[in-house]
Structures are given as C-alpha cells and as structure tokens.
C-alpha cells in the first residue's frame, strides 16, 4: 500500500523522500541510488566552474537531467543572509526554478543554522518570489517566524548534517508538528538509518530529506530502497493512527469463557 500523495508549494508528489546528490563513490552509484529511492526531488548546488573540470560538471548535469526529478538547489556553505540571497538568485537562474533549500549556517563546528540570518534571508527571498524550503533548527519560535513570513514548507534538523544521530530531540519536533498543523514539514539532516525516518514520519512529518545515510551506506541503492519503504511505512502508520500507550497490560486474547480459569495474584 502506498501512503497518500502530498503537495509542496502546489506540486503534487507521491514519494515523501527528498534525496541529495552528493558524496556518492561514483556518478553511477548516485544514479542507481536516486532511482532506487523513488525520490521525485533531488537536491544539488552550484559552484564556480573550473575550466579543466567542465566535462565532469557536464556529466553530473546530464545524469541529473536523465533522472527527471524536481530540482531543489541549496545555498550550502553560506554564513550570512546576503551570501545566501545571492546564491539563491544564481541558483534560480542556473536551474530555472524558484525552489530554494535555504541554508544559512551560524557555526562551522556543527553546521547549525543561524536562525536570525535565516529569517532575514527568508524574508528577502519570499519578497523576490522564491518558494523557500528553510533548513532550520528544531526551535518552535524560529519555525513560527518562518511560517509567519510565508514559508509553506519547513525543514527542521533531526541532528547536525552528516552525523547520522537520528532524532536528537523528538519532543521538539513533535511540538513543531502539533503547533503548526497546516505546514508541510520535513526532517532534514541527521537521519542515519531507516528507523530514524520511520520515527519522524510517525510523528506526523510529511517527508524526509537525506543524503549521507544513503551515499555512505555500503550499498547505497539498497539503502535508498530501505529508506523509501520505511518512509512509506512511517507515513502509513501515521495515517492509520497509532494506538495510545498504556501503563498496564491488557490481554489481546479474549478471556471470557476460558475453560480453565486460574486466579493469579
């Protein structure tokens, strides 16, 4: 069974996995993994072209085009609102999309988003017509500010980028889900294994964005498939309605008319 379709900024999607295009051991492994993931959105970036590497850049671009996915360019590596806005403008021109995964980092040790610069850049980009996908921390108030600015999608972290730590603060993520019920939410970064993704989806998150967990697996295509299935399973579980936890045991087999009844303490 497939979980329900969903929408991001008016675009209907079936897959709830956004996948990154970085860190794969080879271009072919990247393609195989992205295809196995069944993702319909791929993240990528932009840099200065080194003339001697232009053929390699061309190969990457040709492969990405063949995958026929929606492109979500990022502003990775930006440490100020101005840098991020500038990079977003270039990305829009280069990739011909108004979607932008907005990353504005505040700390180079754990690559933590700078919430103040993120809000500032978001405000500018929305006024310039961008559809902003902000990569943010799991701070409820920052998420509320971003929503107030007009973001329809928010992407709080599960853990710092590339750590594979899973959901460090499920309480905070669940609070964001409950307080912003109408927003589209993805957990972006920190996912290490499929059970992390299931956990996020069972909390009611609409999707997952990941890269390292697939690219650094021993078998990236196999792991991509595992994530595709786990994300679907987590969403199905959320839609099906998870049973409430109880303190005391409750027999699942009926005890009525049991032929031999033994009284236990």
């Amino acid at each position: 069974m497939q979980a329900s379709n969903w929408q991001v900024y008016g675009t209907e999607l079936q897959s709830r996995l956004f996948i990154g295009s970085a860190l794969y051991a080879s271009p072919q492994m990247m393609c195989d993994a992205i295809e196995a993931s069944k993702a319909q959105v791929v993240t990528l970036s932009l840099r200065r072209q080194i003339p001697t590497q232009s053929s390699a850049d061309n190969q990457f671009w040709r492969l990405i085009q063949k995958l026929d996915c929606h492109l979500l360019p990022n502003t990775a590596g930006c440490y100020s609102a101005a840098e991020a806005v500038n990079t977003a403008m270039m990305a829009r021109e280069l990739f011909e999309t108004d979607w932008i995964k907005l990353e504005v980092l505040g700390d180079s040790y754990n690559l933590q988003p700078d919430p103040f610069a993120l809000v500032e850049a978001t405000k500018t980009l929305i006024s310039e017509g961008f559809k902003v996908f902000p990569y943010c921390t799991d701070d409820l108030v920052v998420c509320q500010k971003l929503a107030d600015l007009g973001c329809e999608v928010l992407m709080p972290w599960g853990a710092p980028i590339g750590t594979g730590q899973g959901l460090i603060n499920p309480y905070a993520l669940e609070t964001i889900r409950k307080r912003l019920p109408d927003l589209t939410l993805l957990v972006d970064a920190g996912i290490g294994k499929p059970s992390d993704a299931v956990q996020a989806m069972e909390l009611g998150y609409d999707g997952i964005l990941l890269n390292t967990a697939v690219a650094e697996a021993l078998e990236p295509a196999m792991m991509a498939s595992a994530f595709a299935q786990s994300i679907n399973a987590g969403r199905l579980a959320y839609e099906a309605g998870v049973m409430p936890k109880r303190t005391n045991a409750k027999p699942s087999t009926p005890t009525l008319d049991q032929p031999i009844w033994q009284q236990h303490d």
Binding site: G20, S21, A22, L23, Y24, M30, T43, L44, S45, L46, R47, R48, Q49, I50, P51, T52, S54, S55, D57, N58, F60, W61, I64, P73, N74, A76, N86, M89, M90, E93, L94, F95, I161, N211, T212
Partner: protein, 68 residues
Amino acid sequence: MNSITIELNAVETTVNAGMSVHDYIQKSDVGGRFIIVMNDQIIPKSDYATAMLNEGDKFDVMSPISGG
C-alpha cells in the same frame, strides 16, 4: 593587442581588451550548463553579446554540482 586583467573565478587572468562576454565564452573552455556572474550581477544570456569585459571585473562562471 591591448589586454586587461580580470578576476576570473577568483583568479587574476589577462584577456584581450574589447571582448564581450560572448567573445570570452567562445574562446574559453567554459561549457555545459552555466551562468555568468559579473561583479556580483547575473548576466542574462540575452546580454552576452553586449556585456563587455573591463579592467578589474570580477567574472564568475557558475555551474551545477552535487549537493545535499
């Protein structure tokens, strides 16, 4: 022939004076999917023939790369 110095992808480079962006692209290794950013301004493709390179210009060729 007169020459000028520009900052090409953050590296000082000498090119012929009087070149347009279009001229430069034709004579260089620039290829594939790219955009041109001059002095932090994106140059639309329709302006390549008329946008001229001047002494000290910051000239960046931006291309797709992988990203997460």
